[in-house]
């Protein structure tokens, strides 16, 4: 199976690569339309700023190919900012359009708790989840963010609470995403990545 990491300058791409390697899964980097079109599954990593990510994807002409790949059934996993990019808009970059795979928006977490939401937190599962299969209910995952999607309708399968309740895992058809960093979340994170890879393999 050919898993491609969307390369647009995201800082955490090498750690996602290393996490996949530890699972014995080979991956490649895709930074062009051809690269995206030739893979069986896609991972959209991300850290930093929503506007910077969308501008970077736009400059590389990757926005439409990403949408086309998803529409054709290619499994996609978004990580952290990669989850946020799937939404229509974000408070972090007013005026910049996201990928729009989900119609809702990304909001700033309220400053009632310490921000960024940084460190290990647990999940509240609200629907059956393919990504969380075999992951203990009380497992911790590593988060580092100040913005989050507060609503993703039926696609929200697990939530997390910090200042507000927000979407931690979303799944809809062939689209998957985590607000936490599975590549930085120890054995629990490895299980999530492994579940995505297995799921992506079944799609063929």
């Amino acid at each position: 199976m050919n898993i491609a990491l969307v390369e647009y300058g995201a800082g955490n791409l090498p750690s996602v690569e290393r996490a996949l390697t530890r699972l014995g899964v080979e991956s490649c980097r895709a930074s062009t339309l051809e690269g995206l079109a030739s893979c069986d599954a896609l991972i959209l990593p991300g850290v930093g700023h929503f506007g910077a990510l969308m501008r970077s994807l736009t400059e590389r002409s990757l926005v439409k190919p990403l949408g086309d790949a998803v529409a054709s059934g290619v499994p996609l996993l978004g990580i952290c900012l990669g989850l946020q990019a799937m939404f229509a808009t974000s408070d972090e970059a007013i005026g910049d359009a996201g990928l729009g795979l989900f119609p809702q928006k990304v909001s700033a977490l309220p400053p009632t708790g310490r921000l960024p939401h940084m460190g290990w937190n647990q999940l509240r599962r609200v629907r059956p989840s393919a990504l969380l299969e075999g992951v203990p209910q009380d497992a911790y995952f590593y988060f580092a963010h100040s913005y989050a999607a507060l609503d993703a309708g039926e696609a929200a399968v697990a939530l997390c609470d910090h200042s507000a309740s927000f979407v931690a895992v979303l799944e809809q058809g062939n689209v998957f995403a985590t607000q936490f960093h599975p590549e930085k979340s120890g054995p629990a994170g490895a299980q999530v990545l492994s579940n995505f890879v297995r799921r992506a393999g079944k799609k063929q």
Binding site: G11, N12, P14, S15, R18, A19, R22, V47, G48, H49, P111, G113, R114, L115, P116, H117, M118, G119, W120, N121, Q122, R124, Y140, Y142, A144, H145, S146, C160, D161, H162, H181, E183, K184, S185, G186, P187, G189, A190
Partner: protein, 254 residues
């Protein structure tokens, strides 16, 4: 369900090897950074910090290679720093595999460096490291590995640093560093009260009770230690089990 308090082993390096001193002097060799990183990754560390305390410019390529070797061993977040003075140096550290970078001396001289780093990499990647020493009724920030006083009040500087863009504060008590006499809870609490970003307490770690104190009285979000972990004085799993039993939220790792 709540955010877990983090336990963070720290690797002070000369760029290449882990070293450990007491109150910032008398350095001795304490092992290979990648080997220690691999051990802490398995034992349940929540994060790892690796610092270049020599931070000489000639040595920088060696330290970047150390970051790469350490990052390769980790499935947990990595923070790295030491002598970072420009956005490009910050980028090199993140590209080498760190998730966050620490800045200290250069940020005091040019607070706008914090703003530039946050604009480039996001606040979540910018950790302001403050070396603080008790002077009379307050704490003063020191730079250059704790050798040069700045005249700045450490608590006020922490507040200003966050305003400038720091997403986390790592505060080291120079009075407690390497002394195993407990964290400076008053210092950590004073900083924790004036900032709304996570605060990592450093300096003075000893028995599990000292961690309990710094999470309760010190209001720290994370606690950092070096020699007690390197020298097998304190096991990470045992420490976290104790904290869990005391009602502190921690990530148990079996």
């Amino acid at each position: 369900m709540s955010l877990a308090h983090r336990i963070i082993p720290c690797l002070d390096t000369d760029g290449e090897r882990v070293v450990k001193g007491v109150q910032f002097v008398n350095l001795r060799d304490a092992g290979d950074p990648a080997a220690l990183a691999a051990r802490y990754n398995i034992e349940g560390a929540d994060e790892l910090v690796v610092l270049d305390i020599a931070a000489s410019r000639d040595h920088r390529p060696t330290f970047l290679e150390t970051i790469r070797r350490v990052a390769a061993e980790l499935a947990i977040p990595l923070t790295a720093g030491g002598g970072v003075a420009t956005v490009d140096e910050g980028r090199a550290i993140l590209r080498a595999g760190a998730d966050k970078l620490t800045v200290n001396t250069a940020a005091i001289r040019h607070p706008e460096l914090l703003t530039a780093l946050a604009a480039e990499f996001g606040s979540q990647a910018v950790v302001l490291s403050i070396d603080a020493k008790r002077v009379g009724d307050h704490w003063e920030a020191f730079v250059r590995g704790g050798s040069v006083p700045t005249g700045l009040d450490a608590v006020a500087w922490a507040h200003q640093g966050v305003e400038c863009g720091a997403g986390e504060i790592l505060v080291t008590s120079m009075d407690r560093d390497g002394m195993r006499s407990g964290f400076d809870c008053a210092l950590t609490a004073a900083i924790s009260r004036v900032v709304n970003v996570p605060v990592i307490a450093s300096g003075g770690a000893d028995a599990p009770e000292t961690f309990l104190e710094v999470f309760r009285e010190g209001r720290a979000d994370a606690a950092l230690a070096a020699s007690i972990f390197h020298d097998h004085i304190q096991g990470l799993g045992e420490l976290k089990r104790y904290l869990g039993e005391q009602g502190i939220s921690v990530r148990q790792t079996g």
